[in-house]
Amino acid sequence: MTKVGDELTWKDLEIGSIITEPGNADQNQTGDWRTQRPTYDHSRCIKCGLCSIFCPEGCIEPNQEGFFEANLFYCKGCGICARECWTSAITMVEEEE
């Protein structure tokens, strides 16, 4: 099945909506639930990666410079990373701002 989510009609579904393609949950955009998103103060970040360990979505990875950042396609904006960050490098801001 190449179609995803919004493209599928009722006729495209497998019997009982069985999923035959392993790992296709990564096509599911969970980031659109978000009302807040994390912002980063890299001057405070010590690259410890604690935020990525606590992230329930598992969507935080180091960027090219080694700073940990959330993938906003998946990030639900729960704020656990900001709460756990011991150098207070992460601040949650409202999505509309």
């Binding site: 599928l8 009609t9 006729k11 497998e14 019997i15 069985i18 392993p22």
Partner: protein, 391 residues
């Protein structure tokens, strides 16, 4: 050659399950279903049926075990009644939503409170919208035959839906009837081996019962609805094939002496057999009445119902369940809604009776027909009447 033997209907179901060569049975005993699963357990223990019998601590677990068994492609059977059907309620939706062709015999029984072990249709009506194919049997032979048909219908690749076969608690489960029991090779001709198209299989992994977010859930439900509607063709085809092999034919509904009848009685299940005697009696008195025995409850046979009542002036419907505070009985409601859009339609009069095992005799049905005609003529300020209740 088929042998006709006198046997308790429950025990004949166990034989049907054996002849269907079922792989897995998971059930919890509950009156009046008990003899069905006791006999199956015995057949398995005696080595007469090579199947896994999974004893469980509740009906919720029984249906859950059936889901798992069916998902790996096992031919799966269970049976329950009343509170047991209620306890497995949420799992019933999972079976149909996941398209798992489980077959279940339901020994229809009243619901508490007050505690009643006796028959009516309260249990099944609570399971009406669970997405299962539902067939009502009027006698032992119909029950036996439709258990065999249920496997064939459920497992057909065009269907893949669970099927309930309803038999009235005690009035059918505990009576001894002469029943034709076919040979195993005849059943094998009618019932091919089951092969689920996408089973749980470590070599070809799939995910079943996944999350359905709002952007896909309505499509899944539409597919399920279309599938249940389309199953009717396969049900009819299976019944025709059954008639070809075994010589007994079934239809979504059966008309008994409906020719020229201005008044039609409609009933489901074993009570329709008594209603036949009432129709004979009233016909002898000179009044032209007939009887519709409704067999296929889901998918609901709209066209057949419309055709069956097109010449009638009054249709008297007996429900053995009540929708409290609502329009009366579920069967009557559905008959009314099936006919509402027609320009010419009969008056439909609803009775709720036979609750909690209360019998309705032949004379009772005669009285019901007469009272129904009277209400059709004079009208009533009630949506329905409860039949035979002491005032």
């Amino acid at each position: 050659m088929a042998k006709r033997i006198g046997i308790e209907v429950s025990r004949s179901i166990a034989i049907a399950v054996k002849l269907a060569n079922v792989d897995v049975v998971s059930a919890y005993p509950i009156t009046p279903q008990t003899h069905i699963v006791e006999d199956i357990a015995e057949l398995v223990a005696d080595g007469e049926l090579e199947a896994s019998f999974i004893p469980v601590e509740s009906e919720h677990s029984a249906m859950s075990a059936c889901l798992g068994a069916s998902a790996v492609g096992a031919r799966t059977f269970t049976a329950t009644a009343s509170q047991g059907l209620e306890l497995m309620h949420e799992v019933l939706y999972v079976a149909s939503g996941m398209r798992l062709p489980i077959v279940m015999a339901v020994a229809n029984r009243a619901l508490s409170a007050p505690l009643s072990i006796w028959g009516d249709h309260s249990d099944v009506m609570s399971a009406r919208d669970t997405g299962w194919i539902q067939i009502f049997a009027a006698n032992g032979q119909e029950t036996f035959d439709n258990v065999l048909c249920a496997f064939r219908i459920a497992e057909d690749r065009r269907v893949l839906l669970p099927v309930m076969v309803h038999l009235d608690g005690f009035h059918l489960t505990h009576v001894i009837e002469p029943i034709y029991i076919p040979e195993a090779d005849e059943v094998a001709k009618f019932l091919p081996p089951f092969e689920y198209p996408l089973p749980l299989d470590p070599d070809n992994p799939v995910s079943m019962g996944a999350f359905g977010p709002p952007n896909i859930y309505p499509e899944v439900k539409k597919a399920q609805q279309e599938n249940l509607i389309a199953s009717k063709e396969v049900i009819l085809e299976s019944w025709r094939e059954f008639a070809g092999v075994f010589g007994r034919s079934y239809e979504p509904l059966e008309c008994y002496r409906c020719e020229g009848a201005k008044v039609l009685l409609l009933a489901m299940g074993s009570f329709s057999e008594t209603a036949m005697s009432a129709v004979d009696y009233v016909r002898e008195e000179g009044d032209e009445v007939g009887l519709i025995k409704l067999r296929l409850w889901r998918p609901f046979p709209f066209d057949e119902i419309r055709r069956a009542v097109e010449d009638a002036e009054v249709v008297v419907v007996l429900d053995r369940a009540i929708s409290f505070g609502g329009p009366g009985g579920p069967v009557c409601s559905e008959i009314k809604s099936a006919l509402y859009g027609l320009d010419k339609r009969p008056k439909v009069v609803g009775f709720v009776g036979g609750l909690g095992g209360r019998d309705i005799s032949r004379d009772g049905f005669v009285e019901m027909i007469k009272r129904g005609v009277e209400i059709a003529r004079t009208g009533s300020d009630q949506e329905f009447e409860m039949f035979g209740v002491r005032e």
